[in-house]
Symmetry: C2
Subunit: 192 residues, 2 copies
Amino acid sequence: MENFNWNQGFTLDFNLQSGFSQNAGTTKRYLSDMRDFYGDTETVESILEKDNPLIYEFYELGCPEREGDLAFGTTIVYPGLVGSEYYMTKGHFHKKVDTAEVYYVLEGEGYMVMEDPGGNTREISMKKGEAIYVPRSFAHRSVNTGEGPLVMFFTFAADAGHDYGTIEQKGYHHMICRRDGEAVVMENRKWN
Amino acid sequence: MENFNWNQGFTLDFNLQSGFSQNAGTTKRYLSDMRDFYGDTETVESILEKDNPLIYEFYELGCPEREGDLAFGTTIVYPGLVGSEYYMTKGHFHKKVDTAEVYYVLEGEGYMVMEDPGGNTREISMKKGEAIYVPRSFAHRSVNTGEGPLVMFFTFAADAGHDYGTIEQKGYHHMICRRDGEAVVMENRKWN
């Protein structure tokens, strides 16, 4: 882990097109890390028999989880499909659930798929040059529905934390799939 | 003031080069709003006799000042000089002083000039494609040392608030001036 000076300030480069930094490394999520996240488990397993594609990567810069600090970085979601379902991030609640997150799309297009603990759902389409406000209390997942990478700059409260478990267990009510060449919102039949 | 849905989420466009949104309006700061911020008061007054240049503008989207929400937007600082001192923002402490801010430079170059209540100073140079971490407790001001606009996307905790008064009264210890065509850090002789 790189060591940044969160008490004195610093700069870090992020390419405005690709999202990559030349001075920090990414955390990578491959399909094998997300076996249970896609609706079509058979297709997941058949892809994994020959390949293990990189689905997305993002920066974790090691911001101390203190009140008043802000974690930031970029997320790069690659284009692709698992069956009819677009490549996406795992998605997470914040542990401190009442904390928002701001994204700014540098390249590409997709959906922010959101869901609160009461099961209220929201899907917001987003594209290059748009900021997205993910409100307090909503679990959120980024889905790439475009032809190229979906690249986003993000910021959230450092003490918000990530809760992947809840959403991994239950899944989201909705999923984003390709039908006749278009991105559509579908019910997730695996939701429990 | 536009009315955004901070409880349900929304997108808002910000041009990745100019920083401007087609769906929100900016707050503008003219030289007359900053009479006492520049070192060379005589030059300020002589400029104001014939003109009142726009120094910078930024978005205030009306985010509720609640814990867990995040204010965001862009700031555009125009290129120019007041005497030898570069165009800059007023700068501010957060009222909740222990709160950070994240900037991401979309265009241009300049300095983030920072100072904590104990008088510790930090000047960080920044340019297009760099994120800047402004740590908790530091007042911060953006200075444009380039030929074109300095455009930054920013995010900070919505309940942090802004305290312009303290820094307006005392000034910063340091100022960024042009000497022989180069940006240099100078002592502010008006500091009190």
